[in-house]
């Protein structure tokens, strides 16, 4: 099978859906000729023109609000938010307007839009261009949240996101744009709420999101060398979350670590760990552990920044301690 970059996969997904459905359009800063700073959208404006690949002023709340209005009236906008950090700018339009419209209207109005943005540290971009803020939106009922972990996932999830009748926030890891993965030529979609068991194992479940799936897979390799069999699961979408697959795995392995690049405090890792704890308690042979990013603003210095995110080595070390039955904290 051919291999393409995640960037190309996203581009293909959007182009395919724009050809399929004339109501789909892209709106955001420097999406047309510039094709975004990461060049993810390059070439789209040549095919679809500036009416459907719409460059905006630097006005995130404004174009987010415009997208909400367009979505409520028959269009399917794809909002391009240049950096995930700018989510804070669009929170009212995303969380007070887009997320709640269907509910507040008793189901009469809906907001089928995609907000595509990015996440991920270690690009030396410092505190305002490195955040992973998916927990922020996953907290808001009415929003769906997808977290592709490879080019293959990025394409399939993007196509589903565009066809969904709900606001979907899709987070791409900006460090993965040039990562290649096998992506079939033929059309495919990846359904929401269906986790992907990337690797089967019996001793511990490693649940990773986005780029942390790769971290989990590398950790599983390290662990295999120590005779520990780790299962790796990519939830793909955190809203909706495929609890059934996660629970089945944890009931099998009795142990789990949830790995995510958002801040650990009050984050995705805690939410998933809590659900496993509630629903698989009597199957747990060790505490379900969280490994998120450190609860510090992302520092600039490479020497510091690399300390803030989970690494395969740290995941493997924690997993080994859990499998060994070590007590992590004082009783």
């Amino acid at each position: 099978m051919r291999e393409i970059t995640l960037s190309k996969a996203v581009n293909e997904a959007i182009a395919e859906e724009m050809r399929r459905d004339p109501t789909v359009f892209v709106i955001g800063e420097d999406v047309a000729e510039a094709g975004t700073p990461f060049k993810v959208l390059s070439g789209l404006v040549e095919e679809f023109g500036t009416d459907r690949i719409v460059d905006t002023p630097i006005a995130e709340p404004g174009f987010m609000g415009i997208a909400v209005g367009a979505a409520m009236t028959g269009m399917r906008p794809i909002v391009d938010l240049m950096f995930g950090d700018f989510l804070f700018l669009v929170m009212d339009q995303l969380c007070n307007q887009a997320a709640k419209t269907h509910y507040m209207s008793g189901g009469k109005l809906s907001v089928p839009l995609v907000l595509r943005t990015n996440m991920g540290a270690t690009r030396r971009s410092a505190a305002q261009h490195s955040q992973s803020l998916h927990a922020l939106v996953a907290h808001i009922p009415g929003l769906m949240v997808a977290m592709p972990s490879s080019a293959y996932e990025a394409k399939g999830l993007m196509k589903t996101a565009i066809r969904e009748n709900n606001p979907v926030v899709i987070f791409e890891d900006k460090l993965m744009y040039q990562d290649k993965a096998p992506v079939p030529e033929e059309e495919y979609l990846i359904p929401f709420g269906q986790a992907n068991v990337k690797r089967e194992g019996t001793d511990i479940t490693l649940i990773g999101t986005s780029s942390m799936v790769q971290v989990a897979e590398k950790a599983a390799e390290i662990l295999a060398g120590q005779g520990i069999s780790a299962e790796v699961i990519d939830p793909r979408t955190i809203v909706p979350l495929d609890e059934a697959t996660l629970l089945a795995s944890v009931k099998k392995t009795s142990r789990a670590i949830v790995i995510d690049e958002g801040h650990q405090g009050y984050g995705i890792t805690g939410e998933i760990a809590a659900r496993l704890n509630e629903k698989a308690f009597y199957h747990l042979d060790a505490p379900v552990c969280r490994m998120g990013a450190m609860d510090v603003p992302v520092p600039f210095s490479p020497a510091l920044e690399d300390l803030t995110v989970p690494t395969p080595e740290r995941v493997a070390a924690l997993a080994a301690r859990l499998v060994a039955g070590e007590m992590l904290h004082d009783a």
Partner: protein
């Protein structure tokens, strides 16, 4: 004759030392020149040898304690019994941690799955809360499903917390324990003996009434077990589970023993259990034999109650053998007195 173990001064300007761990436990024999403690000074850990032969008695410092140089941290006794009796010397503060002292692991934690053998420690050390067994939710559930008591692992010295990997060990300990439910009396224990007689006719009448009015044929052992349990509770304020093991001598042979669990809290018609729980008390029913009392060669350390019958005088002949580790003399007297009273007036005591 005792020898004091003292926090040594190992450094030039050392005021205190950290006791890393005891290499012996209280009661262990100690040979002069053998490593006895590990002490940390100036970030270096050194072994300190015992200065005398004997047995380690009370210790007043626990692993991790910082102790001023020159302070007594334990005592070596020349004989074992003295060491044992001094283990709870009230003048010496208890070690802050109960159970076998956890030693800080000098190496990073093992990543291999836990083996069946008891592990000495883990990197944090385990502080058990009083009575609370630390175990994973899963091993708790599985142990409960199999009727296994995690406490057995604690008693066997396995380090906590327990995980599913400890189940294998727990199963084998439980099997051994069941086999040894008639446990050998410990060497130092002493046994006592009490005898009594009481009227047997009222119980006979009561059993006839059950038979004629309720079509219930209740063997005397049912009543013996119930009243024995009542006697233990009433005399000793026991609220835990009482297991009465009934051994009936039929002619010249003991029948298969039967177990009654909490018979004082069950219906009279409750059948004996099939389980192999450890007996609290053995009840020997001699009423269908010619014997009026037995004192067998026994491994059981708990109380043994015998009931024989004097047919001619309409009396039960009662005997209570007991070990001092289970019953004091006063408690034994109270138990047998209650039991005799209940047999003499069973209707009242069935209420």
């Amino acid at each position: 004759m005792t020898h004091e173990v003292i926090m040594p001064a190992l450094g030039m300007a050392q005021e205190t030392g950290v006791l890393v761990r005891w290499l012996k436990e209280p009661g262990d024999p100690v040979v002069k020149g053998e490593p006895l403690i590990e002490v940390e000074t100036d970030k270096a850990v050194q072994e300190v040898e015992a200065q005398a032969d004997g047995f380690l008695g009370s210790v007043s410092a626990a692993a991790g304690d910082e102790v001023p140089v020159g302070q007594v941290i334990g005592k070596i006794y020349v004989d074992a019994s003295a060491a044992a009796s001094r283990e709870r010397d009230e003048t010496v503060p208890e070690p802050s941690r109960s159970g076998p002292e956890p030693a800080p692991s000098p190496e990073p934690a093992s990543t291999a799955p836990k083996t069946e053998a008891p592990q000495a420690s883990n990197s944090l050390g385990v502080k058990t809360h009083s009575g609370r067994v630390l175990a994973s939710p899963k091993v708790r559930r599985l142990a409960a499903e199999e009727g296994l008591d995690l406490e057995l692992l604690v008693q066997a010295g396995y380090s906590q917390p327990f995980h599913v990997s400890d189940l294998t060990a727990l199963r084998s300990i439980a099997t051994e324990t069941a086999a040894q439910s008639i446990a050998p009396a410990s060497a130092g224990a002493r046994r006592g003996r009490l005898d009594a007689v009481c009227d047997a006719r009222n119980l006979a009448t009561l059993r006839e009434q059950f038979s004629s009015q309720a079509k219930l044929d209740l063997p005397p052992g049912v009543f013996f077990a119930r009243f024995a349990a009542q006697a233990l509770r009433a005399s000793m304020d026991r609220t835990d589970e009482l297991v009465i093991r009934l051994e009936k001598l039929e002619g010249a042979k003991f029948a298969q023993p039967t177990l009654y669990i909490d018979p004082d809290q069950s219906r009279l018609t409750t059948d004996p259990t099939e389980s192999e729980a450890e007996a609290t008390l053995i009840l020997r029913d001699l009423t269908d034999s010619a014997l009026s009392g037995v004192m067998l060669i026994d491994d059981f350390s708990g109380p043994i109650l015998t009931v024989a019958r004097d047919e001619g005088r309409g009396l039960f002949i009662l005997g209570l053998d007991y070990g001092t580790e289970h019953l004091t003399n006063d408690a034994a007297i109270a138990v047998l007195t209650y039991f005799a009273g209940a047999l003499a007036d069973p209707l009242v005591h069935l209420a």
